[in-house]
Each structure stands twice: as structure tokens, then as C-alpha cells.
Symmetry: D4
Subunit: 249 residues, 8 copies
Amino acid sequence: MRREQVEQLLAQVKGGELDVAAALDRLSFAPAESLGYATIDHHRALRQGFPEVIFGEGKDVTHLVGIAERIAERGDGLLVTRLAPAAAPALSATIPGIELNALGRTAYLAPKVPTPAGTGTVLVVTAGTSDLPVAEEAAVTSTAMGDSVARLTDVGVAGIHRLLSRTDALAEARVIIVCAGMDGALASVIGGLVRVPVIAVPTSVGYGAAFGGLAPLLTMLNSCAAGVTVVNIDNGFGAAMAAARITHA
Amino acid sequence: MRREQVEQLLAQVKGGELDVAAALDRLSFAPAESLGYATIDHHRALRQGFPEVIFGEGKDVTHLVGIAERIAERGDGLLVTRLAPAAAPALSATIPGIELNALGRTAYLAPKVPTPAGTGTVLVVTAGTSDLPVAEEAAVTSTAMGDSVARLTDVGVAGIHRLLSRTDALAEARVIIVCAGMDGALASVIGGLVRVPVIAVPTSVGYGAAFGGLAPLLTMLNSCAAGVTVVNIDNGFGAAMAAARITHA
Amino acid sequence: MRREQVEQLLAQVKGGELDVAAALDRLSFAPAESLGYATIDHHRALRQGFPEVIFGEGKDVTHLVGIAERIAERGDGLLVTRLAPAAAPALSATIPGIELNALGRTAYLAPKVPTPAGTGTVLVVTAGTSDLPVAEEAAVTSTAMGDSVARLTDVGVAGIHRLLSRTDALAEARVIIVCAGMDGALASVIGGLVRVPVIAVPTSVGYGAAFGGLAPLLTMLNSCAAGVTVVNIDNGFGAAMAAARITHA
Amino acid sequence: MRREQVEQLLAQVKGGELDVAAALDRLSFAPAESLGYATIDHHRALRQGFPEVIFGEGKDVTHLVGIAERIAERGDGLLVTRLAPAAAPALSATIPGIELNALGRTAYLAPKVPTPAGTGTVLVVTAGTSDLPVAEEAAVTSTAMGDSVARLTDVGVAGIHRLLSRTDALAEARVIIVCAGMDGALASVIGGLVRVPVIAVPTSVGYGAAFGGLAPLLTMLNSCAAGVTVVNIDNGFGAAMAAARITHA
Amino acid sequence: MRREQVEQLLAQVKGGELDVAAALDRLSFAPAESLGYATIDHHRALRQGFPEVIFGEGKDVTHLVGIAERIAERGDGLLVTRLAPAAAPALSATIPGIELNALGRTAYLAPKVPTPAGTGTVLVVTAGTSDLPVAEEAAVTSTAMGDSVARLTDVGVAGIHRLLSRTDALAEARVIIVCAGMDGALASVIGGLVRVPVIAVPTSVGYGAAFGGLAPLLTMLNSCAAGVTVVNIDNGFGAAMAAARITHA
Amino acid sequence: MRREQVEQLLAQVKGGELDVAAALDRLSFAPAESLGYATIDHHRALRQGFPEVIFGEGKDVTHLVGIAERIAERGDGLLVTRLAPAAAPALSATIPGIELNALGRTAYLAPKVPTPAGTGTVLVVTAGTSDLPVAEEAAVTSTAMGDSVARLTDVGVAGIHRLLSRTDALAEARVIIVCAGMDGALASVIGGLVRVPVIAVPTSVGYGAAFGGLAPLLTMLNSCAAGVTVVNIDNGFGAAMAAARITHA
Amino acid sequence: MRREQVEQLLAQVKGGELDVAAALDRLSFAPAESLGYATIDHHRALRQGFPEVIFGEGKDVTHLVGIAERIAERGDGLLVTRLAPAAAPALSATIPGIELNALGRTAYLAPKVPTPAGTGTVLVVTAGTSDLPVAEEAAVTSTAMGDSVARLTDVGVAGIHRLLSRTDALAEARVIIVCAGMDGALASVIGGLVRVPVIAVPTSVGYGAAFGGLAPLLTMLNSCAAGVTVVNIDNGFGAAMAAARITHA
Amino acid sequence: MRREQVEQLLAQVKGGELDVAAALDRLSFAPAESLGYATIDHHRALRQGFPEVIFGEGKDVTHLVGIAERIAERGDGLLVTRLAPAAAPALSATIPGIELNALGRTAYLAPKVPTPAGTGTVLVVTAGTSDLPVAEEAAVTSTAMGDSVARLTDVGVAGIHRLLSRTDALAEARVIIVCAGMDGALASVIGGLVRVPVIAVPTSVGYGAAFGGLAPLLTMLNSCAAGVTVVNIDNGFGAAMAAARITHA
């Protein structure tokens, strides 16, 4: 149950369209449901606009599917990230209509009532082609959160004219998510070109002294462009959630 | 010259209120001015809404004052961060009306034309009293950027009722900046309670395995509350600039 | 031979129920037995209440089984942790009655004389479902040490009402073990809510800047709740052993 | 107001010795008091048995004294740790009867009603003379919490007979706090000799690859003696608080 | 004695202008002279074109001056880097004509015969004003090595038009030295704009997660522009020496 | 299209040999071509003398082949590094004439017009046999860039006479690339023996405290031989590109 | 050819038993032989008493076997460490009589003339059974170097009586090699009990904050027992070589 | 009381030269004496040949002097390392005849009976002049332990002929201590030239990515010359103690 649905319900009660007993009934789900191996936060949608998202990594397939089922049956939508390829078939089999995205390693089921749209466009930029899986996780998540998504791909600073020739795309965005590995320099350059929020996602693309994404993480935290914020390495999901907090004021 | 001023000027030209020569004159400042030891980006205000902010740390006092003078005389306002106490008198002597803030280590001169106000309030939260200098840097910066600032102080998770009794303050904010050292756990808890943007600032408060702020930095990057973003350790300035990007859409 | 058994034996000697030669015989096991590839500390049970526990990781299967056999035949019980799935069948085949736990990666054989019960309950809390294997290792170890175990699962701080609605469970515990990965913030929040000992176990759940559990480890070491103690990453076994030191005063 | 005092008060109400209005009056302090720069958790004593302890490091002297005053006037006792030598005179001047400890960098004011005594003795062991300041912080804190304190000094493993000749002291303790820098090996050896809780405090004593206490921290986290727990580097205070959680069951 | 001088001497011997005994005399300096506390490599000039450069940091003033004297009296020139301000007067007093540079912390004495000029210009670029001391160390060293030096100051990527408007300066350089702290992103951008050698110098400018220059060091090592090379943090001297290896083929 | 080709074309226009329309036609390729998943920088050859090189690691095979095809069909040559063995057949099948190098993990297609030759020889030195894959990547890249390559293999400092007996090879080089893992000491020794540019490549050869190449990386950054520069761990490609910047002045 | 053999040969020449031409012939092997992919240091045996040892990790099987053959045919013996199981059969097939050790991952061929015996015994001690592979590498190497080897297994400090009951073994050693993972504390304890050289080998046994052997490495470098020296993580080979330097004075 | 003295005493008892009561008297010192703040290991000299050495860093002056006095009065000699300049006068005033060494930061009092001489010479080598304080600490310690000391100064690998011209000095040593900062490469080169034990001491000389001695520490641990051992950063004392273990077999 999302915040908007609860508002509507309360309005109906107020307007006499719904009696108190019925309203109570519809509000009666326990806010947190225990499955033994998990405690599902059913008020997440109410509190934050979307149900609890399942982080797939390291979860037993049975647990993963069990949690997904319980969330899905509420009808508020479902998003799974870091879905192991081996777990995907079980999920598809159990939850009809769920959409898998192999590149982004996500599974998504739309809510019955569409998620309220965010204001403006979320632009997902990548420095290189190898950053695409992270960008895809961000794009799927933004879509699930009700945001419009645009993309600008492979415009890293080694050939800066590629970026400078696309300032139009930058200018049209409400929020920009920048996914970059290696030197992570793209976030600083974009941060200096625009006034809108820039959310930097360091990726684990690179080798040697990239140290699994540590290098771009530090670059981005030390951005000389003021007001760039950073999320965890490869955390396209988190960047999109941060964008949704901005676009759903 | 800020974006709004340029817009107005162009409108005057269009409307015939200002002739081209005069307009040219007022636009004639070079976008970047070289002082030998510095290249001042005079279009920063135009591009991003506020002139270049001077990072005071490690700068020779003569250089610092020289740059400050050149920026101040444009009238678009001036902000200095990480101001060494030893450099403050020279700055005060040279730039009349500049306001020093000892706790936040800032110096601020208001622009002639007030900075456009942001939408909503920026709430600056601290986990403990020792985090106040960082919070103060954020608050001064937000004010300089035209944002309304509210504060919630010393509400760390060791006594979580202090925070839970102030959810009203959380609910009223458009953006929340969370300053916390040691375990940095406050950002996750707040991130889970609200839907608005949460910008986490790890502070260097703590000792031993806090490693100068590394501990809360990692905590915040790994926040289990989705969509929390992070800036550099002790970077109250950056957090406020990120907030301004959100409030000045 | 456990401390209690030796006490009883000495009492029998004192009371004339057992002659010296027979007592000597029963005490005659060498305190440390050499197998060539291992030196088994047979006085561990006497000194610390439970026989040497076998750390399964990195051990040759033949060595592992050989050590297990020698410990098992003393009848004081046997616990194996970090048991590689590939080594489990050989262990089961050799030691009848041993109980395998796949999730916790343990093998356990109860002692002939039950281990003395600890005072109070050990509560094992997890922040998320992915922390369950570590929690299970703790729970199996606590049981082996004679402690009563309770569980509270998936109550991480991103939805703090899940925890706050279960303060009853917290209030009933003699010792609380908190297993959490990612931001590890749960340990601080629980540490601030209770007065009993809180033992924090950082888990390797997470990715990127979680650095294999380093992030929650640092969080927990820097807990702003006073008196929280920490064990190694993923060390559910160690946490349970620390709890047993408390409950078996 | 401590838990015991509240219990007594409630009993008086129940027994008719105290009327409700009077009881209410005495319970009427707000649980959290805001000083602007601090939010004092006045229910800490009620919840955890001792008022909020002030961490002195990095606090402005005025703030420090202000907070101390407000806590002191409740009469439940006051403890300041990491007290900068420069801040001590101001504290002494404001709070009569406060006891300073230069080696341990603490200030302590006893509560009006003595803190309930813990069960058993807390033994504070140091590996070397240079570890004494940390041990002293632990000892002062334990005393403040109502625990009996014993000491065993300079018994590091380089001359292990120093420790082995004092197993009597180890045997008499209810909890053992081990403070060691450099290789931190003492915690493992003691952990293997006793069955009671061992709380290891890595100290920043050492140089070079001790990396400010990182070396003994890692040693202790990896202790081959099962069930040793660890607190932050140089955190004598935290170790004593952990001990108090054990002795005040 | 430099390589050119030895060549000339050998030519004179060959041409009969100099007899063998005299030549021997002039070549008779031991290639390495021992001062007890130092072993001066007098063939460094012969082998690498400039005498051994003295690294001033951590050297006893007496040792420093002693070594400097012995090198200076050979007439091949003298360069001291990382000169502590306290050591400068003693050096000036002992070695007439030595030029001190306070910003770059260097002392320089020209050789009697001018150092052969390198081909082309060495361009020293800085991202910000705070990087100037490192740039100055590089510039002084390049001059000492016989290179022409140009400078481009404060053109960091936060305002990339400052750099793009000066591509002329980039185009004229034979080698470019890029000094940048914080995000270190400037090296990648320049590396992508030019075909000449780019030597990146990370500086310790920044705070928090800059970790004393680690952040820009990693950025530069992971530059997405191919063929950028890196020297140690703050090592302006090393960058200039690398440039001299290129310009003195 | 390479710089030389454009120069020739412009000369033809100037000399009347080519009319403007035809010239325009041949220059009409967009400087950056978007494939959706990639933005190919077709001016890289013009700007830097060789087309964009494809970093094969982490790229989807379809993406990799698609990009390679688009670059190859321009005729300016093609280089792929870090080519996964599994991706090689698809590449060979699509691009006739491409040369695979299994040891160096590269694929190379020569340009239609030979790349201009660099001045002098690039000498690739390895400390041990295990460093050969990195050296091979460097050698293939240098050849692609038009440089002559010489090799000196397995001359690490543990048997320094192996190196000292080959100073002839060192003396003949224009640039020296030194590939070394473990202690990485070879770069310092060679740096002290020659005056030409030395580019050090730390390799991930080694174990334990080599930390995947971190040890030789730090060694090389701290080289006591002045003017040694460093590239990323295992980055033979980058070293060769840096060499080409030197040899193609 | 070993040092002893060369001495004998020179004595024969001096005594007229061997003519100069024959001696020259036998000395005529080039000191370093190039195989293209390797430069074998054939004087290693002469200089250091044993031929170059082959580090097997990361070497191509063909290269490995090729080098081994060239060394083996000199008759001075052959040792291969870190031998990949997959490479062992090829080695066995090519070099008859070579002895494989699966646990220690070594291959050894005795020299034709026995290696001179070292003085005294090398005692190899392990803290736990999981440290045995490293200990075995040390033992095989010591044997190859001509040393007598004794073993003391699984005597870690968690049960210190296991060690204290074997001080006889410690007392009889000329050199002690201590292999320990996890807390690595055993090296300090042994270092404090004996006066002979103690060489500590940190092993990668452990998990979590053992960080692949970093924890015991730091412990051992910070040993509070004076004069303990350390080699690389898991470097049993290096420890044995260090022991041989001591026993072959 | 040293081992030799006890042997002599026991011989006298055996030979009837000393009666049992007198012998007992002279042996009656407690093996460990408690000063409250320290537990002096008076059997250290007996067990390891020299009394406990005092590590001066971080010790209270009163404690330092108190411990020094108690050790000095036994007449077995006294050594203090890391002596703070401020503590030296108090030490000199209390203990007549103690020799201070400012460069090495040591204080030394010779024992009444000379320490037995070690076999052979300990050669202390430094890479640069800045390494001298560490070398001096090693040299003073070696002298105190009864070893002959030789020195070879400033022979780092940047000018390798300085070292190669002094192989005579290397050849005459029984043990070689190599002190080097920055790249630490000298240890590997020397390790490859000699067969005697090489003990490497990384120093904190250097800057930037030397990370306080971490760089040479890693270099030395990864030495490609087999059998080089390493002690802690700047630990000249430890290296000399390790040498004494070798020379006093």
C-alpha cells in the first residue's frame, strides 16, 4: 500500500464513501510480517513510496522466492536487484509477469496502480561501454520508481568532445547519474557543467590500482566540482533511489 | 554575474531598454581571469548560480586575499571555506563587511542582489556535539546559496528516542544533511524514516579505528537505507552545495 | 573430560568412593595428544568447558576426520565449524550421530554428559536475511555450549519499527549477538536500547565499499553506544563462545 | 535518575507512600534536554544505569562545561573521558568535587546515591607500561560503574613467566580487560587460560607497522582463543562499559 | 663533471691538445666520495647530466650543508629539494650565490658551464592555486636541467572552459607536467587532448578521503587517457627529471 | 583518419589537386559515432595518431565485436587489449586478418597506411619470466604505434650481473619499459644506469604481501632514481602508449 | 657449479692436478644463459650455494619445464616451489628422479654432489594444522639446502601448555621457523622463550579481518619479543632460505 | 644476571667453591619485580643474554627513570631506545655513566662484566644519509649485545657502482643489516650478492606514497632475493637483536 493509496482511503472515510470497518480491514496488514528467515517491512511503500526492494546477492533461492512472493501479492510492485542468473528461472516460474533484465541483473513487477511519476528526467551517463550493467540497474530502478529515463553512453573524458557535443542532453535533465570506473573523472567534469544534482556511481571497471572501484570512488568523493554526491561502488540501484527522492518531493 | 542577472540583461536588450554596446560592456568581463597564481572562473555564477568558492586550506595568505578581492569586487558574493584562523584578519581588513564564522571556519560576503531562494528547508542534523563545526560549514554554505536552514543537534543513535521524538523536524525538510562521525549510523536510520533526499557527511570525529572519518564514510556508503548519498569526510560545504542543486531546480 | 567431571571425581576420591589408582587412570590421558599433523588439547574441556573446536577451513579432509575422531571418542562432544560441503560426507561416515547444519556450515556431536546450561537466553539478531548463515553458526555454537537460544531476524535499521516493535525480545535476553553486514548500524541502535552485553558480528554481506565486511567491522568498533564489543567478520562461532563465557560464570 | 530509583519510586506509589502528583513531578524531567549545541539524554541512567558519558575530544570547552553542568546537577554522577588537559581547569572550577585523573585523562563526579555494585572483580591487564593510560581510563570507568577493579601490569608475552606466575589473579576475575599494543598477543594467551569473558583493547602503543593500533586490533580480532571480544583502539572506556554490562546482569 | 665535458676532454686528448697526465688529473676524482655520513656519487653528472640532487627532508643540517659543499665545489651545479626553512640560512651562508625558492622549497646553484638545453618546452599545469608549491618545485628543477618552462595555472576541470580556452599552450609543449590534488581528473582530460608525453603529479591538496594524495594518485594511475604516466605524490622534482629524460635525448 | 592523412588532404586542397566538395566528403565522418552501447571517438586517430583502442575486459562479446567492426572499417587499424580467450574466435571470424596474441591477450589489425615510425627503439625489460604477458602487451602495442621493439628478459636484481652484462642493450634504447612484480626493484636500478626515459610497469606477479601488485607499484613510485615514471599495475598497454608519446614528437 | 666445487677445482689447478685448459673448460659455462623467455643465473650456485629456485606460480608450463631442464642438467640440483598441480606431470615426465610434494607444492631433484650440511637443526613450528602446507614448503627447502629439519606441529597459544611442554624441542634448535596465521601470536611467545634466531612466517590461514595473512604479518612485525624477523605471507621457502644463510656461515 | 654468570656460579657450587646458602642468596632475586607501573623481567638476561631493553616512546618520564634505575642497579647493563630528548636529562642525572646518542635516540650503560662477544662482524648498510638515525640505533644495540659493528653508508641503488665498489665490505660481514626508505630496493640487491643473513629494515624516509615506510616494507617482504628477512619500520633495534641471535649461537 502506497502513501497515495492511504491518502485516498482516508479521504473516502472522511467523505463517507467508505465505512470505518472496511477501511480498517484494508489497513489491517501487519506493518512487518515475519517469515522466520525474513521480516518484511510492508509499510515501506507507505513510508517511502515503493515496497522493500530485495537485494538478491547471497540469498538462498528459496528465501529469495519466498520473500518475493509475499511482497508481490500485495500488488504494490516488486524489484529484485543483483539477481543471480541461477535464481532467475525460479523467480519467473513463481511470479507471472515479472520482467527480467540480464544486463542489469534485475527482476521487476509493475504495481497494480502505477507509481506516481517523478518530475523531470533522470539522465544516466556512462564513461564507457563496460559501465553499462551498472547504468542498466539504475535505469530499471528509476523506471520502477516512476521516473523518466534518458541515457548518454560512452562519453568518458579521454575524448571530451563526445561529452561537450551533447550538453543539450545534460541541460534537459532534472538529475544526472554518472557511472564511471577507472579514473572516475567524468563526474567532476559534468558536475562543473550543470547546476542540477549529480549523483556519481563509481564502478568496478578497471584493473590493478583501480582496486575494485576504490579509485573512482575516491575520485568522486574528492570531486573539485562542488556538490557532487556519491553512492557505493556499482550501486546503480542506490543512485536511482537517490534520484527518486529528488524527483518525488 | 549570476544567471538571473544575465537573463534580465538579455531581456532588456530584446525589449530595447538596453543598447547592444552597453550590454556588451557589462558582459565584457573575461570568463576566466588570470592572476598568475590563479585563474578565476567568473562565469561560475552564471553557470552554477554562485561565484567560485575559495577553498582556504593550503593557500598562501597573499594568494587567498588576492583571489578573494577579485571575486568580491564583482558583487556576486564571496564564500571562503577552511579558513585558517591566521588568515582571517587579513581577509577582514581587505574586504569590508565580510562575516567570519570561527566554528565553521568560513568567511562570507553577501551578494549585492540577494541569491534566489531555494524551495523548502535544508535540515542539518548532527549525531553529536563534536560534529558541530562540519554542520556549521554546511549551514553557512546553505545560507549563502539562498536556502533556509533548520538544525537538529546531537541526536545520535545511542539514544534513539532523541531522534524519534523529533520526526516532526524530519518531516518538514526538503533535504536533510546528516553529519556524523564514529559509527555514522545516523544516516541509515534517518534514510529509512523519510522519503526526501538524505546527504550524509562523515566527520573525522572519533579515534582509533575511526581512521580520520574512514569508518563513518564506509558506513554511509553501505547504508542499508536506499538512496542515501555521501560526500567527502568533513565536507559540510559539499553537502550544502548538493542540497542547493536540489532546491534550485 | 570437563571441569565438572573432574570435580566430581576428586570429590569421590576425597569421600573414599574411588581409590587413587582408579582416579589416576581416568585422569591419565595426556593433556595434549600428537597426531603428527595436529596436537590435540585434551584439557580444553577441563580448562574451558568444551573440547577444542575444529576450524574446518583449509584443512585436508583426512586431517579433519582424524582430529574429529580423536576428540569424539573422548565423549565430551565435538563441534566443527566452516565445514566444507565436500568434507561433510566423510565426517558423517566416520562419526555416527554427528548433526550437520548446511546453512551454518557446522557439524555437531553432543557430549555424553550434557553440557551445563548457561544462565539466561542468548538472543541472535540479524539485520537481513543474507546474514543468516553467520547467525546460524552462532546459534549452533551457543546450543553446543549449553545456552538457550532465541532469534530475531531481518530487523535492520532501514525500517527501524521492525526492531522497535520487538523490544520485548531484547528485554528478555541475557546476551545479545548482533549479526549485520553493509552499514552494520544495527549494533549501535541495539546497544543503546539495552543494558545487557551486546556482541557485534560484522558480516561480509554487501558489495563494493563494504570491502568484504570491513565497513560493518569499522562501524561496530566505533559504535557510539558504549560497551558494544566486536568479533571477527563472519565469526558467529566466536560471538557464541564469548556469550558462553558470560553465561557460564 | 537511575533505574533503581525509579523502581523505588514506583513501589512507593504502589504502596501509597507517595501520591501520583508528587511522583509525576519527580519523573517530569524531559527525557532529552536541548542545549542548542547538545541534546542530553537524561534517560540514559534510567535505561542503562549511568548518565550519558561525555567524550571530551574535539569539543569546545564552553560546550563541554555546559553539558557537564547539566548532567552533574541531576545528581546521578558524571564521567568525562578524553579530557584535554587545557579543559580540565574550567571543569574543576565549575563542578566542585569532580576528580581529575591526568594519566587516564578522565574527570569523575560520584552520584549522590552510590551506583549499584557489580558482581565480581574486573581485572585490568596491560602488556607494557606504555599501555597504562588506556588501562587507567578503563579502571576509572569501571569504578564509576560500580565495579571492583584489580590490576596486573606489564605482563606481555615476551616474558611469559610474568603472566604464568600470576594465574591466581586471572582466576579471581569475573571479567578480564586486556590492554596491549604492538603485537597484541597477550589477549590470545589470556583467552586460552581462562573461561571468563576477555575484552581486548588494542592500544596505539608501537610504531611503524603498528599503524596507530591497527596491528594489535587485527591480532585481537583474529585471536585463536575462542570468544575473545574486541573494542576500538585505545578505548579503555568502552571495555569497562562492556564489563559493566556483564557484571550488572 | 658532465658528460659533455668528458667528451670534450677526450677529444682534446685525441687531438693532442691535452696530454694524458693532465687528462688523468682532471678525471681523477673518485667516482664516489665518502663523507662518513654520505657517499657522494660524483659520476652522476657524467652518467645522467646533472650532479646528485640533495633530498633535504629528514637530513641533519650539518650533514646537508656538508654534502652540498662537496657537490658545489665541483662546479657542476647543485640542487636541493624539500629544504626545511630552518636549514636555508646555513646553506646560504656556506654556498655563495645559491638561489632559494621559498614556495618550491628549493635551493639552486647554477653550474659553471651552462647545462645543455633540452628540446622544446616543458609546460607545468596546475589544477588549483594550492598545487603551486609542487609546480614550483617542478619548474625550478626543469630550469636546473636546462629546460624551458611555461606555466598554466588553476585550470582544474570544475570549470573546464578555463582549460579549453588555452589549448594553444598545450599545443606548444614538448612535455606536459600536470599537478593536481583532490580528484586529480585534470591529467585524464589533458591526456586526451594532446599527443605529447603527459606526466601526472598527484598532490596532497584536499582533505578527508583525499588521504594525503592517495585519491589523485589512484585517479591518475587509472587514467582513461592512454599513456599518461605518474610520479609520487607531491613529487614535482621527479616529474621534471622525467621530462628532462625526454627533452635531452 | 590519421593526422598525416588529414595534413596531406589539406595540402591537396591548397594545391588545387582536390576540390573542396570532395575534401569535405572525406572529412565528413562524424567525429563521434553512437552505437547505442558505445560512442566511438573517430577523431582519436586524428588527434592522437591511432584509433581508439578497445579495452576488452568486462565487455559483452556482442558489444566488443560491434565496436571493433566499426573501427576496423575505417582502415586506420585496430587494437584490442585484455581480450578474453572466449571472445577471440568471434573477433577473428568477423574481422579478417586480425592477429591474435594469446600470451599478451591482444588482437591487432594493421592500418591500411602504415603508422608513422617512432624515433629510436623501445626496450621492454622484464624482471622475471612470469612478467612476460605484461611485456608482451607492451610490445604488441608499441609495434602497433609504429615503434621498433627490443626485449631484455628475466634480468631481475636478485642476480644483478645479468643486467650489468647487458648495459649495451640499455644504451641503445630511446625509451625503456621495465615490467617487474614482487619487489619491483629493477626499475630503480635501471633508472640509475641510464639517462633516457624509464617507464615502470608494476605487475601482479607475486603473492602474500605483494597484494596484487601494490608492492611493486609503491616501490616504483618511490624510486630513488630520479625521473622514473609509473603506470597502472599490469598496464603494458599504457606504458607502450606513453613510450609512443615520446617517440612521436 | 657450487662454491665448494670451484674451490676444489682451483686447488687442483694450484696443485698441478688439473691443467689450465681443462679448468677453463669446466668453468666455461656462461654465468647467465638466455632461453628467450628466461635468463638463467648459472652462477647462483657458485654465489649462494644452490642453483636458482624456480617460482612456479604464473609461469607457462612450457617455460617452466624448459627452465627446469636447463637447470637440472647442470647437476647442481633443482627446486621448484608453488608448483601448480596441473604442471606436475609434465615436470615429472621430463626430469627423471624429481620428487613431488603435493602438500608443500614443491618438486625437488637432489644435486649429484650432496649439498654441504648446515650446522644445527632447523625447527619448523606451526600454530595449527592448517599451516602445514607452508611448513612443508619450508621443510622441503631446508632439506634441499642441506639442513636437518625437526617439526613441532599445532602448538598455537590458545592452549599454551602444548608449547610449554615442548621447550626441549625449542632448546635443541639452531634456528626456529614459526608458521602461524590468524593472530600470529606464536612467534612472539617463542621469541621470548629462546635466544636463537626466530624467523616468523605469517600464513593466509584465517578469514575476515585476517585479510589474507595481513593480520599475522602485522603481529609478527610488531613482535614484542626483540629480534624476531619476518618473511612474506605463506613464504615457507623464504624462511628456509633465511635459515640456510644462518646455518651455512 | 646473565646466563654465563649463572653457569659460573653453578660450577662454583659444584666445585665446592661456593656454599649453597650463598649461591641461593645470589640467585634470590625474584625473576619478575613489580614496580606497580611495570613488571621487570629480571631473568631476561639469563634467558636471552641481555636485560630487558626499555622502549622509551610513550612512557612517562618518572616511570622510565624508575624502571631504568631498577635494571641498572643489577649491573647487567641497560639500554633505552626511542628516548625522547626531553627525558634524556633526567636519565643522565639518575644513572651515572649512561651514554646518550642523540642521532640514534638511545641511552646505554655497559654491564659490569662485558657482554660475551658475538662471532663475526655486523655490517650496517644505509641507502641514504636520511636513514642514519635508524642505522645508529642498530649500531648502538649491536655494540650493547657484544657484536663488532662496521658501516657502509649512502650506497642506494640509484648509483649502484657505489655499492659494487664495496663488495669487500659485504664479503667480510657475518650478518648484514640494510636500512633503506623510499623504494627499499637495496635489500634485494645485497641479498642477491651475498650468502650471509640479510636483515632488512624499512625506514620512514620518503614522502607521499612511501606512506611512512609502508612502501619499503612491502618491497623488502617481496624481495626477489631469497632469504632476506624483515623487521618493523625504523626498527634498527630489532634488526640488531636479530643479528645478535645469529652471532651468539
